[in-house]
């Protein structure tokens, strides 16, 4: 038995924490003033909404699908939050619950009709964007006060974002990686036929994961308007690509049910930081979006190399 085999797996799981640490060190080096409460707060400001969106994407990826509409969905939630949730909280809350149910229905549809999730969710992105424009045709609205209060609470020691991210990562980790039913949910991604043969309902599993995705999408939208105070239909469109990148950076794989909630949160934070990092490097904003693509490619290339080294 070669000692390399476990080491390759460990390397893969350490990659997200490693890249985050490297990035953080690089940022502190370039801009020592960020090593303060204020600095960290500014850097990680938008981390939480992105982390929630990444977790939503992770839920869908767990069952071997992909959600290309999460960005539009988060935008829609943000618009609802800044209008109905503020003006008529009951209606707003009802709509958001309905959205989660819609996600569950989507999962059922994709499973029962054997549809490619890419195209369906891409179509849904039109749908969510259109709904968002109907709710809020021009940027505006006002986030409910309680949301604002929650999102801007000042915690001792480290900014609230960090505590919140850690908490969320732990909760999802326990729910998905340590619970008995979480095993079944992940098993569906690994070998759906075997899980079905053991008597579990694939439909129920898919609907569960899609509902969770909807739930995290709602959290993402609400937390977003808590930070930006107003909303806009297009506000979170880039979250689609960011969330996929976050899951991958966090050690997840597109098929096979291999995901990591902690990794996903770390990946989301890394990507949030990457933007600031690039501006500290005086890289012109022109290249920022390209750099995100480059990071994704780099991480994937690293993974291929690690896998190849591990299998020798």
């Amino acid at each position: 038995m070669k000692a390399f085999i476990p080491s390759s797996r460990i390397l893969r799981s350490l990659l997200p924490a490693f890249s985050l640490t490297v990035l953080l060190i690089a940022i502190f080096y370039l801009q020592p003033r960020t090593m303060s409460y204020m600095g960290l707060n500014l850097l990680l400001n938008l981390a939480l909404p992105i982390a929630f969106a990444t977790l939503a994407q992770m839920c869908v990826i767990t069952v071997n699908d992909l959600d290309l509409g999460i960005g539009a969905f988060v935008g829609f939630v943000a618009c609802v939050g800044a209008t109905w949730l503020n003006d008529t909280p009951v209606l707003g809350a009802g709509v958001l619950i309905l959205c989660i149910a819609a996600y569950a229905a989507l999962g059922a549809l994709i499973h029962l009709r054997n549809l490619p999730s890419i195209v369906v969710t891409l179509g849904m992105s039109f749908f969510w964007l259109g709904l968002a424009l109907l709710v809020l045709p021009t940027p505006g609205g006002k986030a409910p006060d309680w949301v604002r209060a929650v999102m801007t609470v000042k915690t001792p020691g480290l900014p609230a974002t960090i505590y919140a991210s850690v908490l969320v990562a732990i909760l999802v980790h326990v729910a998905l990686m340590r619970s008995a039913y979480g095993v079944v949910l992940r098993g569906v991604g690994g070998n759906p036929r075997a899980v079905e043969r053991a008597g579990w309902s694939l439909l129920r599993a898919k609907m569960t994961m899609y509902s969770l995705a909807g739930f995290f999408g709602v959290l993402s939208g609400i937390s977003l308007i808590g930070l930006t105070t107003s909303a806009d239909a297009n506000i979170a469109l880039r979250y689609t690509l960011l969330s996929i990148a976050g899951v991958i950076l966090g050690g997840g794989e597109f098929v096979g049910g291999r995901i990591s909630p902690v990794g996903a949160v770390l990946g989301a934070i890394t990507l949030t930081l990457a933007g600031s990092f690039l501006s500290f490097l005086r890289i012109s904003p022109d290249w920022q979006i390209g750099a995100q693509g480059a990071i994704l490619i780099l991480v994937l290339a690293l993974r291929v190399l690690i896998n190849r080294a591990g299998s020798k």
């Binding site: 179509g123 039109f126 749908f127 968002a132 920022q288």
Partner: protein
């Protein structure tokens, strides 16, 4: 569905008719002409996307908007409003598209990642290249090019006629060449295709490169049409390229492509926008309806076949 492309044209006709009824007959010809003009661009990228989607589930090219922007920006700058530079400009645009297509396939092959992610990441990079190169300055296209893209012959845009011809040619390529047959075979059953002598790797490479080339062409022409390249000129063409493929009747499970349907779907979508605008409905309704239609079409058509 024996002739699926009919539905798209039927839908287009119904929408156009409703619009005319609403306006009391005015502007019928103008609407149609405008529809043809704008639908042209969707069709160009739709052809590339259609071939890619036909390769089988999981194959999608998400780098089309970035490629369009990049090719448009680079070619406009090279041409620098000079008429004699039109053809070199075209060459450059096609070259840009080829480079992106090759890069996409390299990522898919070497990194073993799903085409969605490969084309997604490359779109980031290419978009950045476009932004950096174009640097926001909107360079006007050469006058001859601008005229070519906007001139009309007997009320019909010349560009549209050319693209109708292109679509016809690509349809023949699909059904009557070894390349086209190979794409259709791979989409139905890649393993059987390989065992029947189809060079699967090469065909996939060619398909992704072709999509890049067509996106490059589209960017070049769109820049000529719109008076220059802008940084988000490709934005709506991602969803548009997929929508015209799906609504046009191409199977998302692969192996079955429908070229006339591309035109029907493109016209349908543009006329739908026009109708909704005429009715005074907002952009939101348009997007919402588009989404519902896409999902409905796929749901009705069903997904992966159960032969694996």
């Amino acid at each position: 569905m024996a002739k699926p492309w009919i539905w798209a044209f039927l839908g287009a006709f119904l929408v156009w008719f409703s619009t005319i009824v609403y306006t009391g007959g005015t502007g019928a010809g103008a609407i149609l002409s405008a529809a043809l003009s704008f639908a042209t661009f969707s069709v160009i990228v739709g052809i590339g996307q259609m071939y890619v989607i036909t390769l089988g589930p999981g194959n999608v090219d998400l780098s089309i908007p970035a490629t369009m922007t990049f090719a448009g920006a680079v070619s406009m700058k090279i041409m620098d409003t000079q008429d004699p530079m039109i053809l070199p400009g075209l060459g450059i645009a096609l070259l840009c598209g080829t480079a992106v297509g090759i890069f996409n396939y390299a990522l898919i092959r070497l990194l073993r990642i799903p085409p969605i992610i490969a084309t997604l990441s490359s779109s980031f990079l290419v978009q950045s290249c476009a932004i950096a190169y174009g640097r926001g300055l909107k360079i006007k296209p050469p006058e001859l090019l601008a005229d070519f893209t906007t001139v009309k012959i007997a009320g019909l845009p010349l560009l549209a006629l050319c693209v109708i011809a292109l679509a016809a040619i690509m349809s023949v390529v699909l059904h009557r060449t070894v390349f086209g047959r190979s794409v259709l075979a791979i989409g139905q059953n890649p393993r059987a295709a390989e065992l029947a002598g189809v060079k699967v790797g090469f065909i996939r490479f060619a398909t992704y490169t072709q999509s890049g080339i067509l996106a490059g062409l589209c960017g070049y022409l769109l820049a000529g049409f719109s008076g220059g390249a802008s940084l988000n000129m490709g934005a709506e063409y991602l969803l548009a390229s997929i929508a015209v493929v799906v609504i046009g009747g191409t199977s998302v499970a692969g192996g079955f492509a429908n070229l006339p349907g591309l035109w029907g779907a493109a016209l349908f979508m543009f006329l739908l926008v026009t109708m909704l605008n005429t009715f005074g409905l907002s952009a939101g309704i348009r997007l919402l309806l588009t989404g519902v239609i896409i999902v409905a079409v796929i749901t009705l058509a069903g997904g992966r076949r159960n032969n694996h």
